[in-house]
């Protein structure tokens, strides 16, 4: 992800964007082509033609594939594209769209598309304030929640918030759409900056913020706590940051300042709405910004490439760029622009609420408490003292999004690196001879939610584990072997299986998974690209794993 909010991006962040200004921009080199198939009944092309400049910021060159206008959504020719887009002018359906049958028909068409297409589907909702449209949009949310990898593009919100008219009836027939030119541009902006990146890329996990002239006007060390100026726009920035935190994005301070001044600012300025406890990590001092960023990454236990740095100092931005090449950056030129980019920075917004994400913030604090406990206890006592409870669910359809997320995002403890999509997971959940197990965990410090996924299938008398992915948030408690043994034991017994085989694929960061496989199977050679098989009863220390001092239970097994 690039540095944003330089002068070059001004066009894209302007309150009102002109079509000509977008089309004048020159395509950068080195973009990755992403194919998108569009199913529509109006001239989506007027959105599609101004989409590229927004997607270039995510290093994406969109290749849009259009068929004929199709009110019937026949989906006759589905191309193997990265994403399918369904965007309709629902008013074209007239009275028909006002019947309850219409939602059922639409759900059926989306199911049909889901059955044919591999990648995510983005479907725009009905941009109207009419009651029937509101009902339909609520139903659409439910349909999208039910189908794997189907995401709603909220055009209603855009129609309400954009400056100018959303619809423009003049020459609508000749233009092929009732959407105004401004609406087409706003839709392209929301799709290109927020909606599509949120489907294509993993979310940025943290925002690291400079202080002076980034979170207020002034220099804390010179102007003093009472001397810095906090305008209403800064308060909007604080609210935006707190919203991101509520959604599970860590906040951090990365500043060259005296730490005591920062604490005093939090304490003495009620208009500075951020408090020390809102920041999960801090690097406030006189070391360089790249060093500070490395410290923050370490504190948060994430890579610096998933931390968005917001800073008003171009020199320091350049230093970070040189030392952390893949770190997303936001040059804070004015509070209004910072606010715009906090709302529109690619891969920061637009993600579906997941039960796991808000837990990430509380889990980090808990991990610090666990470290203290570990320092004061040893081995089994430590595990017992943590009062760990593990809950398993077999083929849990409602968790498919989280299971796919674990498969796709887990890098360290991921045995198979299969990167199952939500569609893949949904297929496995419904396939005979496959079993997928979700693992949830809580301890005396916090509820971590679903932290593990086991993707397995029966092959004769063997249980083949295609992948085990465990979130790094739950590692370090040294309970991986009991946790996995307790999940597999009932499956082995229930189906009378003799052997267990672990498929392994080597990746750049999954050494912990290989080390665990060595320990669990007792095999020193864990080759990449093949399965390591072991007789279940010959698993070393199996009885010890099954008797570990953790409490386990099975939740409802099928849905």
């Amino acid at each position: 992800m690039p540095l944003l909010n330089t002068v070059e991006e001004e066009v894209r962040a302007a309150p009102t964007v002109k079509r000509a200004d977008l089309l004048r921009l020159v395509e950068p080199e080195g973009l990755s082509e992403v194919h998108l198939q569009v199913h529509r009944n109006y001239a989506f092309e007027l959105i599609g033609s101004v989409l590229p400049p927004f997607l270039w910021l995510s290093r994406v060159k969109p290749i849009l594939i259009y068929g004929d206008y199709d009110d019937s959504l026949s989906f006759a020719y589905i191309k193997p594209t990265a994403v399918q887009i369904v965007s309709l002018d629902f008013d074209r359906y007239g009275e028909k769209a006002h019947s309850a049958e219409f939602s059922k028909w639409f759900a059926d068409r989306l199911e049909n598309l889901r059955g044919q297409a591999e990648g995510p589907i983005i479907v725009s909702n009905w941009a109207s304030d009419e009651e029937r449209a509101e009902q339909f949009n609520l139903e659409l949310e439910k349909i999208a929640g039910r189908l794997p990898s189907v995401f709603v593009w909220n055009t209603v919100e855009i129609s309400r918030n954009m400056p100018g008219e959303f619809f423009d009836q003049h020459a609508a027939e000749a233009r092929g759409t009732r959407l105004s030119n401004s609406a087409c541009i706003e839709l392209a902006r929301s799709f290109g900056l927020v909606r599509l990146p949120s489907v294509l890329f993993p979310r940025i996990k943290a925002v690291a913020l400079d202080l002076d002239n980034t979170l207020y006007d002034g220099v804390l060390g010179e102007d003093g706590v009472e001397g810095v100026h906090i305008s209403d726009q800064y308060k909007d920035i604080y609210k935006e940051l707190l919203r991101l935190r509520d959604e599970g994005v860590f906040l951090a301070v990365l500043s060259k300042n005296d730490e005591r001044d920062f604490d005093q600012l939090c304490e003495k300025r009620p208009d500075f709405l951020l408090q020390p406890e809102h920041f999960s990590a801090r690097s406030i001092g006189w070391h360089t910004k790249p060093e500070g960023l490395a410290r923050i990454a370490e504190q948060l236990q994430i890579g610096s490439d998933s931390i968005l740095v917001v800073d008003d100092n171009s020199g320091e931005i350049a230093q970070i760029q040189a030392a952390h090449k893949n770190t997303p950056l936001l040059y804070s030129r004015s509070p209004s622009q910072t606010l715009f980019w906090l709302r529109h920075y690619p891969a920061l917004n637009g993600y579906r609420a997941s039960s796991a994400t808000p837990l990430r913030v509380s889990d980090l604090e808990a991990s610090r408490q666990r470290d203290l406990l570990r320092a004061s206890t040893t081995g089994t006592d430590y595990v017992r003292e943590m009062q760990i409870e593990v809950a398993y669910a077999l083929n849990p359809l409602s968790f498919r999004g989280r299971l796919a997320e674990l498969s796709q995002k887990t890098n360290q403890f991921n045995t198979g690196l299969q990167r199952f999509s939500e569609v893949d997971v949904a297929r496995r959940l419904g396939a005979p001879d496959h079993c997928t197990i979700s693992v949830s965990m809580r301890d005396r410090f916090c509820d971590s939610g679903i932290i593990g996924a086991i993707f397995a299938r029966m092959d004769g008398q063997r249980l083949v584990i295609d992948e085990i992915s465990v979130s790094c948030r739950s590692l370090g408690r040294n309970i991986e072997s009991p946790m996995i043994a307790l999940a597999l034991a009932p499956v082995m017994e229930r189906y009378g299986l003799r052997d267990v085989a672990f498929w392994f694929r080597e990746g750049p960061r999954n050494i912990p998974a290989r080390m665990w496989l060595r320990s669990f199977t007792g095999m020193q050679d864990i080759p990449s690209g093949s399965a390591t098989s072991v007789a279940w009863k010959a698993v070393p220390r199996l009885a010890e794993h099954l008797g570990a001092p953790i409490s386990s239970r099975w939740e409802r097994t099928t849905e």
Partner: protein, 80 residues
């Protein structure tokens, strides 16, 4: 706005539309310009409306088939 200013702006917007540099003095016709298809024509109209703050009816849109014709149409709208 002078005729020359209108001509310069139209040439620039046409350049964006067809993807090649069009000089202010150059006469361009839709029928002989391969990049000026129906979608590009709609885009050009939208950009002209944006730039000059005017609106074209469907009939006017269909009648705009050359750079010179566009300049004349905008002059008329400005004079009205």
């Amino acid at each position: 706005m002078t005729r020359s200013e209108i001509q310069a702006a139209v040439a620039e917007l046409l350049s964006i539309t067809v993807g090649r540099q069009i000089l202010q003095t150059e006469s361009v016709a839709r029928d002989s310009e391969p990049g000026w298809d129906s979608l590009k024509h709609v885009e050009l109209i939208l950009m002209l409306e944006e730039h000059f703050g005017v609106q074209f009816s469907e009939e006017e849109m269909a009648a705009l088939r050359s750079s010179g014709g566009i300049v004349v149409a905008i002059e008329k709208k400005n004079a009205a």
